[in-house]
């Protein structure tokens, strides 16, 4: 069984992106280097054959996704699951959590100036954030962070792939490490 075909079967069957390490675990004949070679080989084949899908780097791994030019056809089809987009408040809350993680509800509410209970629950239910620990403050508040699915939803390769501070008007880093702006 060819390494590239084993990798193809795995990427094809998986619901979530798979990393080189994930894929290498599938068979004794594989290691991360062989996996990289196999992925490059598949990519070249898909490009050469102008397949409707390609291999994309997402969330620290690879995922087979359809190419963007097929979106107009696919978005009209009712057996094709459509990605649910997030509301404005949900995106703002998620942005705060993504940059400040781990972060508690109080800080999120303080920054947005509105209650966050409902939005946090929605984001948790959608698998975009999770409780990652407890803070030191009164009542040991829950702290939230983003999940691997968060990266997948936005097509980010990793947390480094979030919009950079220099793309934004002012630094988003933690207040306590930067001093008050």
């Amino acid at each position: 069984m060819r390494a590239s075909r084993m990798v193809e079967a795995l990427l094809f069957a998986s619901e979530a992106p798979l990393s080189a390490a994930d894929l290498a675990r599938a068979d004794e004949s594989l290691d991360e280097e062989r996996v990289e070679t196999a992925v490059a080989e598949l990519r070249a084949e898909y490009d050469r054959d102008e397949r409707a899908f390609g291999i994309f780097e997402v969330g620290g791994g690879w995922q087979i996704l359809t190419r963007p030019e097929y979106a107009p056809v696919l978005e009209r089809f009712d057996t094709v699951p459509q990605a649910q987009r997030l509301s404005g408040p949900a995106l703002e809350t998620l942005a705060i959590i993504a940059y400040r993680q781990p972060v508690g509800r109080a800080e999120v509410e303080e920054i947005r100036g509105v209650g966050a209970g409902g939005v946090l629950k929605t984001l948790q239910e959608r698998g975009l954030i999770e409780v990652t620990g407890r803070g030191d403050g009164l009542g040991r508040p829950l702290l939230y962070g983003t999940t691997p699915f968060f990266l997948e939803h936005f097509g980010f390769r990793g947390l480094d792939d979030l919009p950079r501070p220099d793309d934004l008007p002012v630094v988003l880093a933690r207040r306590d490490s930067e001093g008050a702006e």
């Binding site: 963007p68 990605a83 987009r85 404005g88 703002e92 920054i111 100036g113 209650g115 097509g155």
Partner: protein, 245 residues
């Protein structure tokens, strides 16, 4: 929205994500220098914009009203002349400006993320996922270490000790009879047993005392002998052979 077209300050509050969002809209739409907000003017506009805010659900209305109160307070503070050359941090507006800027940055980040989301939504992953049997647990590597088991045991023990105290406070009585049975059971297996070993699983003072009382009662009835070689030495409970009796 139609109303907004007629009067620039008649605003549909509901389309804003909160009071900071509304305030930023007022400031940025009028090209106001955020570091020198004309607080009287902005307060008036804000109050006008949130007229009828009571229509909103209670929590959201409260958020807008709280900001209104903050603005009014800052406006009042601005009436007092500040000594010249005073630090900017003492400007009554300073904290509000910091909050507005911080919020604006995240709002901008959210916008960039929304664009990423839109791009990603054009790529479709495989719709149908083949159902495959989950592997047997025993075939997966186990990553638990003994340290984790040990830590769990210690935590459990601490928790039980705490609960035992609570029970004690509630005056849960420990029946000596029960303890006597336990001592006898223990001595059925081996000729002698250390008092500490009997008490250890329970770990509370009241249990220790009741075990000791149970042992003394059994000694009185000539079922056991209690020995301690020296003060503070371990207390041993010996089974009394029948012929000893």
């Amino acid at each position: 929205m139609e109303a907004a077209a007629r009067d620039p300050f008649e605003i549909d509050v509901e389309r804003f994500h909160g009071p900071l969002d509304l305030l930023l809209h007022l400031i940025r739409n009028q090209d106001i220098d955020i570091f020198d907000i004309p607080i009287s003017k902005i307060t008036e506009q804000f109050l006008a914009a949130i007229r009828g805010v009571e229509r909103l659900e209670l929590e959201r209305a409260g958020e807008f009203l709280e900001m209104a109160a903050t603005l009014v307070r800052i406006k009042a503070q601005m009436l007092f002349p500040r000594p010249a050359g005073e630090d900017d941090a003492d400007d009554p507006r300073a904290d509000l400006v910091r909050r507005l800027l911080e919020y604006e940055h995240f709002r901008e980040a959210a916008r960039i993320m929304e664009a990423a989301e839109r791009r990603r939504a054009k790529l479709y992953r495989r719709g149908f996922v083949e159902v495959r049997p989950a592997p047997k647990l025993s075939e997966l590597p186990l990553h638990t270490t003994w340290d984790e088991v040990w830590a769990a045991a210690a935590a459990l023990s601490a928790r039980l000790a705490e609960e035992a105290v609570v029970h004690h406070v509630r005056g849960r009585e420990v029946r000596i009879e029960e303890k006597m049975n336990e001592v006898v059971d223990a001595l059925a297996q081996k000729p002698r047993v250390e008092l500490a070993a009997l008490v250890a699983p329970w770990g509370t003072r009241i249990q220790a005392v009741s075990f000791l009382l149970a042992c003394l009662e059994l000694a009185k009835r000539s079922v056991v002998r209690v020995r301690q070689a020296a003060p503070f030495a371990p207390v041993w409970i010996y089974r009394r052979r029948r012929e000893e009796g």
